[in-house]
């Protein structure tokens, strides 16, 4: 495993809820190395989504540091975070967040239009096995297909980091496994450091590392000896 590309140390995040302070993260350390696939495991409310939002440049920590390569993202301004998300981060969301007025290919093109050295939209769709659906609108695609379009959209910019937030949360088992297979293949072929957030412990096996969350803290971090192929996962 090479040198870490993303380093978070002692991250905390507190939300002020009137008189109450809610600590969503309480001193989290995490690193991501190029090409690595990490599964963040935890029940809902454990703080994993908060962590992902901070790692992905959507939110800032209350304290701690976050470095991407040489760039300190801890106190970065909106422009820096936007640039970071635009150039280096690919996102896959639970609810796909596709633009309903654009076809599959156009949804991907939306990102390649503003990326620096993107692949062609068609190429990205081919990588997720949807080259025959490129002229379909989201409403004409199944949930699994929509999620694969979202993956194509995330990877078309050739991101350094790929964050997947509950990518199978809205899908049935067969479709969910198919999506995980795509993520696994993308990670291998493109070498983007990939982070999958899930509450589904059965997915843990496909990662190089598994980090378990509880109450805003890392409860356990373990290295898997060998990655379990996504096609063999069951739940």
């Amino acid at each position: 495993m090479g040198k870490a590309i993303l380093e978070a140390s002692a991250l905390t995040k507190r939300y002020d809820m009137g008189e109450l302070q809610v600590a969503a993260l309480q001193g989290v350390d995490l690193t991501l190395a190029p090409g690595e696939l990490v599964v963040l495991l935890g029940p809902s409310g454990s703080g994993k989504s908060t962590l992902l939002n901070i790692l992905g440049g959507l939110d800032s920590p209350t304290s701690g540091t976050l470095r991407f390569g040489d760039v300190d993202l801890t106190r970065a301004d909106d422009a820096t975070l936007t640039r970071y998300r635009r150039r280096d981060v690919g996102f896959v969301f639970q609810f796909y967040n596709l633009i309903p007025s654009l076809t599959a290919e156009e949804n991907v093109a939306l990102i390649t239009d503003i990326a620096e050295r993107p692949m062609r939209p068609a190429e990205a769709l081919a990588l997720v096995g949807l080259d025959d659906r490129r002229d379909h609108f989201p409403s004409q695609l199944s949930g699994g297909q929509q999620q694969r379009v979202a993956i194509a959209r995330a990877i078309a910019k050739r991101p350094t980091l790929l964050f997947c937030d509950e990518p199978t949360g809205a899908l049935d088992f067969a479709t969910g496994r198919l999506v995980l297979e795509v993520i696994e293949r993308i990670n291998r072929e493109l070498g983007a450091a990939t982070c999958i957030i899930t509450h589904n412990a059965s997915i843990a096996g496909m990662g190089d590392r598994v980090v378990s969350f509880r109450d805003g803290r890392v409860a356990e971090a373990r290295q898997n000896g060998a990655r379990q192929p996504a096609s063999e996962l069951t739940w």
Partner: protein, 787 residues
Amino acid sequence: MRALDRALFRELSRLRAQVLTLSLVVAAGACVFVAMKVTVDALEGGRAAYFRAQRFADLFVSLKRAPRSVAERLAAIDGVAEVDTRIAGDVPAFVRDRRDPALLRLVSLDPRAVAPLDAVRIRQGRAPVADRDDEIVLNEPFAEANRLVPGDSLTAVLNGRLRRLRVVGVGISPEFLFTLPPGALAPNDERFGVAWMAPAPLESAFEMKGAFNDAVFRLAPGARAAAVIAQIDRLLVPYGGRGAYDRGDQQSAKQLDARIGRLHAMLVFLPALFLLVAAFVLNVVLGRLVQAQREQIGALKAFGYDDARLGRHYLSLALLAVVPGAILGVALGLELGHALVTLFVRFFRLPVAGDVLDGAAIAGAVAVVVGAALVGAWQAARRVVRLQPVEAMRAPAPPSFRRSLLARVGVARRAPAALLMILRNIRLSPARTLASITALAFATALCVSGSFLGGAIDALMHHQFDAAMREDLTVAFARPLARDSCGSLRAIDGVIACEPLVAVPVRARFGAVYHEVAVTALPEASQLRRIIDTSGAPVPVAPAGLMVSRRLLHRLGARVGDGLTLETIEGRPRRVVLPVSAAIDDEMGLNIWVRLPTLARITGDAPAATSALLRVAPGADARVIARAGAMPQVIGISSRAGAIRDFELAAGQSMRVMNTILALLAAIMAIAVVYNGARVALAERARDLASLRVLGFSRAEVSRILLGEMGLAVAAGVPLGLLLGRVLARGIVAGMAADEFRLPLVVTPATYLLAVCVVVGAAVLSALQLRRLIDRLDLVEVLKTRE
């Protein structure tokens, strides 16, 4: 308060920015409606009361001379209830030490008459005494313009002799509320006035002993004016009758009518425009609200709220949303109406005004505002009623997008995806986009039609005063003089050039229709006066036949090639038929232009000069006016500079105020349309836009996508509005066309530019406000929820 009502107020408070912009549009509509209605009602009421009180005549006629016995025959005409005869004539008059004469129309006023028609209302002083031959009552506008009050005096040329006339009173009559000096473009109260005096001095001054040359009539109830006019005209032929006419052609009544009529047009047009836009804005805002509250509506229906109750809820929301605007508009409208009534009553010199606190105006405004609100909310309420609970609680079916033909053949493949987003969203709700475009076009057109008048008047003035009238002074002669009469004028120090102008009043007749006009002949190759058409180009007089104003041809129903019968009004009665050889689109007056030989055929003798045009050395105006004014043959002198000043005074100031108001209203309209449209678009696309921000789009890029849609509507609406504005301007020009002048349809680039700036500026203002909302989009929230 019931829970549902509480929800109503919370929703209103949440939508306050949109309610505010909506209120402004509603307020503008209600304000204009109330102000105009109050003004029109007060003026019409005041006019009717005034006409009644002063016994304003129904028919009017002037003639050469008829013995008093003819009056009895006139009174005997079927349909005539009453006739009053008078002596009237124009004389030059000198006020204080001014050397150039003003033109004074003297009208006989019999102090012994009981309840005469067109009674003079004495506002200061008293009426003249019957046996005093030097007492006059001055028409108020003339008295004010010359600062003359009872006790002052002026001199006038009567019977070739200079006579001192003592002002004993100042009064006003419905017949002379508005006076236009003969041949002038704008009123000039300083140089043209009316004076009433006892009949005796006028009998001797105008050689009317036992005779009259003017009569006014009251019609019997149910009498037909046209039939009576025909009989009067027939009866007066031997006495040089100049054709009777009714109030519709009476100068003063006509001007008053036209002015009130213009207010009337605004009363309908402006509020309609605003309330249409208000209805549209409500439609958009409520449409979105119902969409967003689908699940709530479904749940409420499931709990047992019935359709009518929920439909009423949304209609109430619409009504409450327009209440602040309506209150504000009515209050402002009453204020503005009060100011306008005061202004117009003064301007129209109506001695009385109707009631200003006009219940009908307020009720009318409330009715139209409520109407607009209901129209705007109808669609949303209907959707609420039709929504089935089960269906409502499910997420709405995703909109079905289609790829356009262009996209399918590959053209759109190259288009940026962000642009495609904008275009497809427009295509998803074409009616809304179309309405946005229309409303923006309205705003633009409103601005154009409000502000083009300034430019059009400038063009008219340029045509008239720079291209057509190149003389510095016009000297009117008391009676036609030999054509070489320029000699004595040319001898005045400071006169550079003098050209005689020959004009003969005629009755131009085509079939049964006739009109009194002047036939004018200019010297060949005139340097001082040219004939100009609406494009501003000089037009040479046709070598033979008549060159006639197109508006006059239109009035007569004649065309080029037809023969017009011309009957002389003064001098030896003659009747000649001459062909119309050309029509001219001129702007000033109804004219017939001829060459001198043609004029000689009309009059039957050598044409005589009726006035002279002078060019004067710089700075010599006053000297020349003084010298020429002292000449006995001169009845009046008008200067080009004075005419320009009068015209600017009459037209310029009110235009500027109107421009500012309309530009402001246009801006309000544009802001309401753009802001609400984009606000709703933002609500509908917040999730998409936040997703884009997460995916690395900058704030500016996301703003461009949202505002691009409005930008396209502005880009389509503004040019459309410029076109529509031009169409409106054409209508306004046609509506304002009077006998005296016709504005050229000139819409200057500056006018278009102003409209573009106002509407685009308003759009940019709204966009900046929205940009702040876009910057506050919650990026994290959007990822957690499914729409």
